[in-house]
Amino acid sequence: MLRRLLLALTLCVTPFASVQAQSLQDILQTHADEVLKPGRRSVGVVLDDLVASGLPQAVTFLEAWRDREIVQRDADGLFFKAIEADLIDLDTGDVIGVADNNDLTASRPNGGVRRAIGEALVQFQLSDPDITKRRAAVEAIARGMEASQLEPLQASIEGEMDPTLKATKIRLAGMLSARFGGTAETRIAAINDLAGDLSVDVRAVLNQVLTTTPSVATDLPDGRNIARVLTPGIDLAEDDAYSQLVAADLAPALIDADAVRAALIENITGDTVGGFPVSALNTDAARAQAYAALAEDGLVAPLITAEIKTTALASHLFFETYDEPNADITDAAKAALDAIESKVALSQAVDLGLDALSLASIYFLAAIGLAITFGVMGVINMAHGEFIMMGAYTGFVVQLFVPDYTLSILIALPLAFAVTFGAGVAMERLVIRHLYHRPLETLLATFGISIALQQLAKNIFGTQARPLTSPAWLDGALVFNDVIAISYIRIAIFVMALIFLGLILYVLNRTRLGLEVRAVTQNPGMAASMGINPDRINMLTFGLGSGIAGIAGVAIGLYAKVTSEMGADYIVQSFMTVVVGGVGNVWGTLAGASLIGFLQKGIEWLNPSNTLAAQTYMILFIILFIQFRPKGIVAQKGRAAAD
């Protein structure tokens, strides 16, 4: 072991004389095609030769190759490194000319090749003074763990200065020795150290220790590390079990309908098969009879009946054996994995809860404006979705003029509020005011506005989705552990939803405006006689609701997309949120959004491969819910509740 390490070191430092004569260019020329058009499976030869050559410039070459800086000159087939306009000789590192794209062909190693190059570079980079290179090396090991990496990695831990990277290296070395450690004791110790780590790569390591192979035999073999014995019908479908038997040549193959048909056609003599007229063989039963007749004559193999099948299954044992022969190791790994899995399950539940919370906050944000216009004022605004869209497009337009993403979002939020507030006020003045006593017609009129606005947006911004980019500090995710993580943008939306909840509660319950709003909604005539101007209040309230929709639009655009149809995606959901929660109450909307968000995630969890089904069942649930609780979760009481 020590010798190999020394060998590797000498290789790096003092190359052997015999290979010294060779230049890097020579090696590359012998593999010219492979260097120009590398493939993952075939690149190994080149890499081996390069590493074996021990040339110091090979490392620089590999790095350049990985970064796609290597070109071939068409004229003479020589390879160079091209950085911007400079053409650099690979052996000397001198700039030898200007890179002219017309007679150079770039080598474009694909992802798989780049990974292979990265792995080849590991041994050179683990102790490189440049921390980014050391990091790259550690990442390369993490992506493709191999036994040979264990020693160089362990050797490099001592000299590692960066504490974070050192911790990563130690953790990685632990995982490597769990898989490739020299003795059973070191491996078991390493495995025990891994227990409690939820990360995907640790689970990967343990699972790889625990890989199994399915087998079948009449008796359990001795000396094999058996994982478990399977019972056909319970752990294993009977058909699968039988096909395992067939595959192991322990039972004759099943004869299915197609085989019966083929056999019958094979044996047609004149107009009959096995004594049955061909024209009568138009049912499965008749075909089975004819086949049985053929089998009796020994022309075809007899059918495998259910009885034969059961006997065959009963006389064999189905089991899985670990590929790792040492039972102590597998036991330790199994115990560690079980402990991790139960923690993972818990974490997954928490993660799902976070997702649900995030979805609920998005629904809440989309619906909260509606909670005011519909819930408090009773106005059905089908154009609410289009106000969301207008807000999002406002954000997009602001980003066209203000390139700084943080600043643009700070401008976009109040501007979106202003734009949609204006639109809402205009709509209230021009349309809704005239229809206060005809709610159904408000629905239709605002629907007209909705389709007009949607088409207008298409005419102005095009049908293409427009980007609304979040500032860099909202990129990435808040990671609790390898399972629980939530992106910052979703947290921002959640926080925003909370702020608006607080704001609206404050405005409605603690301010003069809120008092007047409540007065006007409860009894406009009485409110007017108390000196409140109901027209003004209605206008302001509607503007407020619309303005909040605009801000919601910016938020939704940040996390998803900005299109002319984005509003339509949320409108039905938003109405349902308000209705389910209970009209006339902001808390109700919160409850409604939470119910819908959690419900949808719950159903998705039950049926993860079909998100559409989750949405369908969620709506069905809501319909039923409203049938049995027509006033919503938080029902209004007293006189205000009357229609």
Partner: protein
Amino acid sequence: MSKLLPLTSFVTAGLLASTSAFACDAPIKVGVLHSLSGTMAISETTLKDTMELLVETQNAAGGLLGCEIEAVVVDPASDWPLFAEKARELLTVAEVDVIFGSWTSVSRKSALPVLEELNGLMFYPVQYEGEESSKNVFYTGAAPNQQAIPATDYFLEELGVEKFALLGTDYVYPRTTNNILEAYLLDNGIAAEDIFVNYTPFGHSDWATIVADVVALGADGKQVGVISTINGDANIGFYKELAAAGISADDIPVVAFSVGEEELSGLDTSNLVGHLAAWNYFQSAESDLNEEWVAAWKAKMGDERVTNDPMEAHYIGFNMWVNAVTEAGTTDVDAVRTAMYGQEFPNLTGGTAVMLPNHHLAKPVLIGEITADGQFDIISQTSEVPGDAWTDYLPESAVLKSDWQALGCGMYNTETETCVQLTSNY
């Protein structure tokens, strides 16, 4: 021979054009059946513009058979039944000689019965799920074996992917493609439990859970790769969530079949560098023809506009049709169809596309990595792959074959040696 003919006709047509505008009195009409409004307008409007550019170019080069070509543009408005109605109008009222159109499979299936009833001719330019070969349609987009299978091979061979997440929008193209891929992966020794399939609705935006599920697939230490047939807008949310979760192309590569230059223009691609797409054409293809084409497109439409794969399909389809008409000396559908078989035309990516008797093209397959400027870096290009109408990887269609030239049948059962039907399934 077939290469010489158009050249000579150009010369004669050019001469005629120089004396009088066009020799014949009635123009040759080309129907353009692409949605200009509704949800598909985003993709299809580009193809309408492509057709107009192609017709203009051809007219400038002397038209066709001495006649001017006129593009008859109608708008089926992303409304599938309207495709049938408009196709009928084009064929019976406007009396066009050929139709270039359709994007989604359902719109093609809507127009098919009309085309077959009235013996029309349509060129369909988009990659699709296969399992069809109509006498009246030429498929210039990719069949699954010209896009999905090579991309999967790339995953298996070059990236060493051992566990697959097939994510798609819930409609026929992803469903069928994923079925084919599942069968193909099982054939290649990938276990059934290592294939994760998920379908989401059109325009889906809540991707957090699905992305987390995909990451969790790596828990048994196998390299995970995503094959995405996610369509349209939904991609934006998906890629945003991938970026937010910090998943790079080195960790979990994603190859997309419906994401091209046009779709990327709605995205900030800096976080997506290295993810892949498979097509028969990328704007970044290095060839003189392509440079000319891109320049002509930008000159017509503006500098910021990009070219994409279905545009190249129309480019090849239209030019093949022009050559076939010239060869046949008439625009009669049956004569043109016969002349189409074996028709060759240079690809924009290099090499030559050939029209096969099963109405599909032989085209090279390209795999590109997304770059920071919203383009693709081509990292793999095969030689021409002949399009296969009926996939070999599903048992029911493995026995089917299409050959309109020799067998005169688009759905021929090689086991029973009979033609299942002359019309198509719709």
